[in-house]
């Protein structure tokens, strides 16, 4: 059995950045990355962007490291292998090919998986997900001959992919279980702005609906809704959310909730084991509670901090994460933790008739997150207000005034 000083499970941006920062801090310690996907680090975010999806930029732009990079950094890349068992007592991991790797320090950077769609017929050919490079290759191939797309779910992947399908010349119907697009992460007013832009670009939006069955023999021919109506289609994209497949970690004695639980140093309850990226449910010191964040920047910065801590530093993770997505001329920016959970307050601001709206999410006296629709220019100010934990409790009326300059909250 080979034993590594540092063993990283997951070769995405979190795992790769961790290995890189370990190498900077420890020039000699042995490092391996085990990754279910056979590919070296690539840009997951690019998969659903027009440049790549529509083939406007060379395919090679997807790679974020050269093949030789791993050897240069003395990092063993074990691609196409999945970790299936973490020994509850000894520091070793079993892989799907039956081999075992020992470790002194372990990082779980396994990201998330696309949630599998459970309706009858979902295994038919023509039903796609979008998480990995291989997934998107399948979708890119399919759109060459497909004409009618059905997109299931109103979230990030649907938001971007409805536009990709339209740009690729398909007609598109999006089916929402919810009352409006992107509920509950967006407020209703904001969701309606998104829907209006969709409809202006000939995307049909079907609300409060559920698919009863996928129609067709071997290949997808349409969907049957629970109200009895049918929508013919030859491709389906199921964008129904993500989940964290960490049973194997849990069985090794690591505490799991929605994700792999970690403290502010990204270390789990089991000494010597860390978690980073989409898979981590970490203690956010700005928010004062545990949370999960699924953005590129967060995964990259967590990889860095976890790597340094594995190499012996003790640095807390501290970041107000932000990301934005564009489709059909609408910009949706997310800052911090924008989910309106029980016990949190919200303030709406904006001018919906002009197509701009925002919801600020408050916890106690401070802002903890925001979703900004066509108000992305306020994202920087909101991030600073969150980071500095500015007391806004006496200023709610100002926050609700769309003309109020949020940067003035930063002035003493």
């Amino acid at each position: 059995m080979r034993t590594y000083r540092y063993l990283v499970i997951g070769g995405g941006i979190a795992g790769t950045t961790a290995a890189e920062s370990i190498r900077q801090a420890d020039p000699d310690g042995s490092i391996a990355i085990v990754s279910e996907e056979p590919h070296r680090l690539y840009s997951r975010v690019m998969l659903s962007k027009p440049g790549f999806f529509l083939g406007q930029i060379p395919f090679e732009r997807i790679w974020l490291r050269k093949e030789a990079w791993y050897a240069e950094k003395k990092i063993d890349f074990i691609g196409g292998r999945t970790a299936v068992r973490l020994d509850p007592k000894e520091d070793k991991v079993l892989l799907d090919d039956g081999s075992t790797l020992g470790f002194e320090k372990l990082l779980v950077a396994t990201g998330t998986c696309a949630r599998k769609w459970g309706v009858p017929g979902a295994q038919k050919s023509g039903v796609h997900y979008l998480r990995t490079l291989d997934d998107v290759k399948g979708v890119m191939q399919a759109v060459k001959s497909a004409k009618h797309a059905v997109v299931i779910g109103g979230g990030f992947i649907s938001f971007e992919m409805c536009e990709m399908f339209r740009l690729a010349g398909l007609d598109v119907t999006v089916i929402l279980r919810e009352k409006y697009f992107w509920e509950p992460l967006l407020d209703e007013e904001s969701g309606r702005i998104v829907e209006k832009a969709f409809e202006a670009h000939s995307v049909k939006v079907v609300r409060s609906a559920e698919v009863a069955e996928v129609l067709g023999d071997k290949d997808v021919a349409g969907v049957l809704l629970k109200d009895g109506s049918q929508i013919p289609c030859d491709i389906i994209l199921a964008g129904i959310g993500i989940f964290c497949a960490s049973d194997w970690v849990q069985q090794g004695g690591v505490e799991i909730s929605r994700g792999v639980l970690a403290n502010e140093f990204l270390e789990t309850n089991r000494p010597g084991i860390w978690a980073a990226g989409d898979a981590a449910e970490y203690f956010d010191i700005i928010l004062g509670e545990r949370t999960m964040t699924a953005t590129w920047l967060n995964a990259q910065m967590q990889g860095k901090v976890a790597g340094l801590n594995m190499a012996g530093k003790k640095q807390p993770f501290r970041l107000v994460s932000a990301m934005s997505a564009q489709a059909f001329g609408i910009d949706v920016s997310f800052v911090g933790d924008a989910m309106p959970r029980p016990g949190r307050g919200t303030v709406l601001r904006g001018e919906p008739e002009k197509g701009s709206h925002a919801r600020l999410v408050l916890k106690e006296e401070g802002i903890v997150g925001a979703v900004l629709v066509n108000r992305g220019s306020e994202a920087g100010a909101v991030a600073k207000v969150i980071e500095k934990n500015v007391d806004v409790s006496a200023r709610l009326a100002e926050l609700a005034d769309s003309g109020f300059d949020l940067t003035s909250l930063l002035k003493p």
């Binding site: 941006i13 840009s43 997951r44 975010v45 690019m46 962007k49 440049g51 930029i57 732009r61 974020l64 240069e72 953005t295 590129w296 920047l297 990259q300 910065m301 932000a322 990301m323 934005s324 997505a325 564009q326 920016s333 992305g376 220019s377 994202a379 920087g380």
Partner: protein
């Protein structure tokens, strides 16, 4: 790093590619800042900031090391940061 052999002469940001993810600002905040549209721009002498191309000499922080610029370019998930050497060849192609 093999990319570090040639000296960086010029830098630009491809605005169409930039998705405002922000890692470049973390990697080199003396050089990159997000503008009002949340696209990365280059901070230049005299307070100007745009997507370039800009000579490294004209950057506000013209003393920034090539390694830091390469790290920033490498941190960008859509590879929107383009670095050029003295001969005008792209270093991080």
């Amino acid at each position: 790093m093999s990319e570090g052999e040639k000296k960086i002469k010029k830098i630009s940001v491809d605005r169409n590619l930039c998705i405002s993810a922000g890692p470049c600002v973390f990697a080199a905040d003396s050089v990159f800042v997000l503008d009002a549209e949340r696209k990365a721009v280059l901070k230049q002498k005299g307070g100007k900031a745009d997507s370039g191309p800009v000579e490294k000499e004209a950057l506000e922080d013209s003393a920034v090391s090539d390694d830091v610029l390469i790290a920033a370019a490498q941190s960008c998930p859509v590879r929107a940061i383009l670095l050029y050497d003295e001969d005008g060849a792209q270093i991080n192609a």
